[in-house]
């Protein structure tokens, strides 16, 4: 994937099996988000393919991705500010329920699951960052995805909020949804992901279980730094 003359990604690949939680990590500018946006149809890669159950979706639009069951959140929350929280989620629910009443019922269930039900009739703009990130996840859930890609959905949260968010992600995973999580916060990846893929300068430099990855020399050099390795990896 090139931006002008800049090669943001090259030769990066990823296989996702059903029911997995995969973490994508890497320093700023490593190509995580670019890779992510290629997967969800927001960017069209200059080379390579995206396959979903053997179907080529490389050139499919974001709305087709959504219909096929690939949902995504945004790094900077993109909630519909003038709509209420319930209405935000209903927009997602309309993908599978064309009738307003059914969409509303489905949206209410999602709000309950995500703990937003008490705020249903407030405008989205009344929420703070944690609420917005939660609403984004709720909206995607309402589209009833098989695969959910979360782009730094936990960044900028306080430790307590991170714990709540991790709980939510676990609950989503238990309901049978496959997850790809792009995260900066190492702790999140280590607690949640079963498999981790590490990006650096547009390439995948390591992949494996969280333990394998934090002990990988290339990862320590590129990203974690040796002090972090001492604190986490070597003891693990």
């Amino acid at each position: 994937m090139d931006f002008g003359g800049f090669r943001a990604l090259s030769g990066a690949s990823l296989d996702i099996a059903q029911g997995e939680i995969i973490g994508l990590i890497g320093p700023n500018g490593a190509g995580k988000s670019t890779f992510f946006n290629c997967l969800v149809g927001d960017l069209r890669p200059s080379g390579g393919r995206v396959l979903l159950n053997e179907h080529d979706v490389t050139r499919a639009s974001p709305e087709v991705h959504a219909r096929l069951g690939i949902g995504r959140s945004f790094q900077v929350p993109a909630t519909f500010e003038d709509l209420t929280i319930l209405e935000n989620v209903m927009v997602g629910a309309f993908l599978r329920h064309s009738r307003v009443r059914e969409a509303r019922e489905s949206a209410r269930r999602v709000l309950e699951l995500t703990g937003l039900d008490a705020l249903a009739d407030h405008k989205a703009k009344s929420l703070g960052t944690p609420g917005r990130k939660r609403l984004e996840i709720a909206r995607v859930l309402a589209t009833e995805p098989k695969l959910m890609l979360l782009d730094e959905a936990l960044a900028g949260l306080t430790p307590v909020e991170v714990q709540q968010a991790i709980e939510l992600v676990r609950r989503i995973h238990r309901s049978g949804i496959t997850l790809v999580i792009v995260e900066h916060v190492m702790e999140v990846i280590l607690t949640l992901a079963e498999r981790v893929v590490v990006f650096n300068q547009g390439r995948v430099i390591a992949r494996g279980t969280p333990t394998e990855v934090v002990n990988d020399e290339a990862v320590i050099d590129a990203y974690l730094g040796h002090s972090h390795a001492r604190r986490h990896g070597k003891h693990a």
């Binding site: 969800v40 974001p62 709305e63 959504a66 949902g71 995504r72 519909f80 307003v100 589209t143």
Partner: protein, 318 residues
């Protein structure tokens, strides 16, 4: 309370022309309704979907020209030109909508201005449609089907019927998936796409529906006034009027355009009366002032301001 509001509104609209027996007010009432129709039509694409078209005069003009063109060519009732105006408007909406609706924000607005000005210039120089002078309808009616009445009252009720139909359709849209999708598009196209909203298609639908009713407004205008020229059909003020009226009352709100029209049209008429023909420049100054005030203080329009004040009073009472 809510039902009482509806009854009062319906009573005022139905009885307005009967309560004055004064041609000036009858005329004013019909102008308010006509402006409310075209602003409500604009509201579908500009308000609900958030795509600020400043070229809806194209549809108004097509709707205004077709009935008189039909009359000129075949001496038939102007009524037969109504569907022709809608058909032409739909074709234009699709032809200019498919490329321009891909543009976002200001680029779409600028593209619509450009198209409207282009068509105004072409029509001004095209003898077939009367060039700069325009077209004239039947002076004396050959029957009711020519829709020529001396009084404004029949026009008033004609316009009211169309406005009611349009508001009813808009109400239905607002409560359906279509309406939710339009508001989602307004809230953020990228996010809407990611949730499976076919953004381009829905924007085009809204634009086509907007074109249909704007064209109808143009046709109604022309049967009332009996003549049309390029400036009053395709001029930029025609487009700006629709935007301004809807934004003043409340863009993306069911009754925003009606409220905006009820304020702006009498204001316009009064300034024109006060300053006569020399007052046209003043109209621009008035518009400029209103645009600045709305943009700076009440981007949501008067209805939103009212709701906010009411909510504040309610919370204070509680």
């Amino acid at each position: 309370m809510r039902r009482a509001g509806w009854v009062v509104l319906a009573a005022v609209l139905l009885l307005f022309p009967l309560s004055f027996d004064n041609p000036y007010y009858e005329q004013l009432g019909s102008l308010v309704l006509l402006a409310a129709i075209s602003a409500s039509a604009w509201n579908l694409i500009g308000g609900y979907a958030g795509q600020v078209s400043v070229g809806n005069a194209v549809f108004f003009g097509a709707g205004a020209y077709m009935p008189l063109l039909f009359y000129k060519l075949w001496q038939v009732s102007p009524l037969l030109g109504f569907p022709a105006g809608i058909a032409v408007s739909l074709v234009i909406a699709v032809v200019i909508g498919i490329p321009t609706l891909r543009l976002s924000g200001h680029y779409f607005s600028m593209a619509t201005i450009a198209v409207a000005e282009l068509i105004r210039i072409v029509v001004s120089n095209w003898d077939f449609v009367g060039a700069a002078i325009g077209l004239t309808g039947p002076a004396t009616p050959r029957g009711w089907w020519d829709l020529v009445f001396r009084s404004s009252v029949p026009y008033y009720y004609m316009f009211l019927a169309v406005l009611v139909a349009l508001v009813a359709i808009t109400y239905g849209i607002q409560r359906s998936r279509f309406g939710y999708y339009l508001r989602a598009i307004r809230g953020g196209e990228r996010a809407a796409r990611s949730l499976g909203v076919p953004v381009s298609r829905y924007k085009l639908y809204a634009f086509m529906l907007s074109a249909t009713f704007t064209s109808l407004a143009g046709s109604l205008y022309v049967v009332k006034f009996g003549f049309i020229d390029p400036g009053s059909a395709f001029g930029i003020l025609v487009s700006v009027n629709m935007v301004l009226i809807a934004a003043l009352g409340g863009a993306g709100r069911l009754f925003g355009p009606l409220l905006g029209a009820a304020i702006l049209i009498p204001l316009q008429t009064e300034t024109n009366n006060l300053f006569g023909g020399g007052g046209t420049g003043l109209t621009y100054i008035l518009y400029g002032g209103i645009i600045v005030l709305i943009a700076r203080f009440e981007p949501g329009g008067l209805l939103e301001m009212w709701e906010r004040l009411r909510a504040k009073r309610g919370s204070r009472a509680a």
